[in-house]
Symmetry: C2
Subunit: 213 residues, 2 copies
Amino acid sequence: MKKSIQILIYEDNVLLRESLTNLLALTGEYEVLASFPDCSDVMNQVRQLDPDVILMDIDLPGINGIEAVKLIRGFNPQVQIIMLTVFDDNSHVFDAMYAGANGYLLKKYISDKLLHAIQEVLQGGAPMSPSIAKMIISSLQQPVVAAKDYSLTNREKEILQLLSSGNSFKMIAAELSISLDTVRTHIKHIYDKLHVRSQIEAVSKAIQEKLVK
Amino acid sequence: MKKSIQILIYEDNVLLRESLTNLLALTGEYEVLASFPDCSDVMNQVRQLDPDVILMDIDLPGINGIEAVKLIRGFNPQVQIIMLTVFDDNSHVFDAMYAGANGYLLKKYISDKLLHAIQEVLQGGAPMSPSIAKMIISSLQQPVVAAKDYSLTNREKEILQLLSSGNSFKMIAAELSISLDTVRTHIKHIYDKLHVRSQIEAVSKAIQEKLVK
DNA sequence: CCTAAAATACCCTGATCAGGTGATTGTTTT
DNA sequence: AAAACAATCACCTGATCAGGGTATTTTAGG
């Protein structure tokens, strides 16, 4: 008989906590090691019980689920963590992702998707509800919008790129095989167009506004 | 009788193209308006046929799927585009996302997930294969992983931050109410620790390695 | 209490950068 | 053909930065 998947649950709602436990127990493939209504002792619990998967509610009293993930990730990079949340809004999801969660499931999809989500994280995937995935996609598509037009010529863009990579005027001149004075002329034009008065401002603005890679 | 969902297919593999068409036709809910082996006339085709959903192979001869998405998004922001790909590696996926695709399906999951994925995009979600979702999550978690330790003191970090925002030494001195020479001393220490020899290199490195916001 | 680290400050010299002015050549646009 | 733009180069002046050394005060740890 193969070893069952060991699971730890953090969920403050008693009914949901018990439903989850029952749901997982019924399958026979999963063993719920324990379930807790809060994360007050999360580090010791995870260390001692050493689960394969953690189901973590985001909205917990005391230490919230996101803080808990940070704590866990501080000493355990491999346990698979699936966040359970009623929020499909912005910041919570991102914070949880940054913290190091592996999957995100809206509570309304739990009955449909939980078992599938657990399988996915164990296979190295990142399960998430469609609307959450949509948020992530949208956030990644934002950079496309950027890149204002300062009417820089190709040569000016090239020089701004080199400057932003840490090259001095002298190095740029050598790199492009042109005179130092020519580099300076281009730099002056760049300053005029970007409305800045020093290399620092130019580089800062160029990187901030994604004028360079 | 409700109107069927109208679909356009771009896929260079003949067998797969026909399988997709048959699979969708069998359900009775979808109507394949047309299917093409390349994107040479994609703009006119999308404009005239005006589909609800487009299935787009990434690896197409001539204009590839990612370029095609950019072209389509140029005039049609609402059509739902699902990318079909054999790649679960790096850049292709990101490029497609930046370009404005709505979902991403690895070809090996097509038979299992295609119908479900179409439903999801039509409901405003973003379907994607678990491994692709994983890539996205990982990319969002990088900022957490980053930030090497150069043993900068808090004051040095503060000054590096101000420098990277475009401030001159003079401005930093004024901002922090310390002497210009003190700023210079801190700067020297920062250069030593980062192994650089100019403000440009320092700022470039600081932003590159996410030492500053 | 004592020490190490951090933050503060000053001086000097040479290198680099900013701003202004002017000029030549070739290409593109009108 | 004329005008506008792009890329190239030069010179001059004053400002800012880099690198070296030295030194005092405050903070944090053992």
